[in-house]
Amino acid sequence: MIALALAGCTQPVGDVTLVEPDQAVFRDTIYPILLRDCAFAGCHGTHDRFFAIFGPGRVRLDPATPIYSPVTELELALTYTRAASMIDADRAESLLLRKPISVSLGGAGHRGDDPWGLAVFRARDDARYVALKNWVMAP
């Protein structure tokens, strides 16, 4: 855990805890989930969203990258950074975990619910959600 004082501010307001979840697990397990379920051009596969995800078969970070070329280091790094920044110090309350599940399951509300009103992950024991949660919660 790295605690940094906000040295650039004239009025420090406290400590910021930067979470650095496992990068290998992200690359092998989490990134494919995000790419499959979130990285659509109308959702998070866009430069218009903070939580942006780019990669093969979806939107490419560099438009010159052929659409089906393997994920680039920059795409992976960007997605990792954005995903990690959505992890709170209180990890269970992280938006990364609360956005993709329904409000009835403790979700935070999400414009990405599908036209049937269903969340990205429809149950907390969805294997993909479990993998995401394990990554977020890992010490």
Binding site: A41, G42, R58
Partner: protein
């Protein structure tokens, strides 16, 4: 330096994908595939073509033979026909029960397909239709090769039937932008046979009302 580079790249517009080959829906996601997302718009997928291609427009296709409600056990035949068959259309249709399982969906064997369901809208064309059986799901698809329509049969179960149709009318530029998107999600309420053989909509309510009225009138006649 890396942060600056990232910021510059993030500001650039991106290119987008096209699932021009239906095998891509099953392909691993790291290879650019759907990872078993078929984008039919059914409750199994949730999302349909518009999630990548953008806004849905009206009038892209017509569904013929669609009943207003369905009677359990009865077979229905519908035809999905697109209005500009001269342009390439990729289409997915899923007809399912409320639990997501397929509603005994049938299609004609490839050899029996009419010209309108073949590439180029020609009897000599290759069959444009394909069927993907994935667990409890059955997705009927159309390759974007110039077919004009597909006919699909289904048999109603005990509950409502959900029909999801999703189509992309391509503009031949291999980008997701600029295509026309057509989507339809229709829930056909289950119907029961009334006592006189008529179909009653939705629930047992109307049938029960008829039985109750008959019972009351018989009691009055008996007085």
């Amino acid at each position: 330096m890396k942060a600056i580079l990232l910021a510059v790249l993030v500001a650039l517009p991106g290119s987008a994908a096209a699932f021009s080959d239906h095998e891509l829906f099953d392909a691993p996601v790291l290879e650019g595939g759907g990872g078993s997302r078929y984008f039919s718009g059914s409750r199994n997928d949730g999302y349909a073509c518009s999630v990548c291609h953008g806004k849905v427009v009206d009038g892209g296709f017509a569904i013929e033979g669609l009943p207003r409600t369905v009677v359990p056990g009865q077979h229905y035949q519908i035809t999905v026909r697109w209005t500009q068959p001269e342009l390439p259309h990729g289409v997915h249709v899923e007809i399912s029960n409320a639990d997501g399982s397929q509603a005994m969906v049938t299609t004609l064997p490839p050899a029996m397909l009419p010209a309108e369901s073949r590439c180029g809208n020609l009897m000599t064309g290759e069959p444009a239709l394909y069927v993907l059986d994935r667990g409890v799901r059955r997705i009927v698809g159309v390759e974007p090769c110039g077919a004009a329509a597909i006919s699909i049969g289904f048999t109603a179960g005990a509950g409502p039937i959900e029909l999801a149709v999703a189509g992309v009318q391509g503009n031949r530029d291999d980008l997701a932008t600029g295509d026309k998107i057509f989507e339809e999600r229709i829930v056909l309420g289950a119907t029961v046979e009334g006592p006189a053989g008529c179909a009653t909509g939705g629930t047992l309510g109307w049938g029960m009302l008829v039985v109750a009225l008959a019972f009351i009138s018989r009691r009055r006649a008996a007085r």
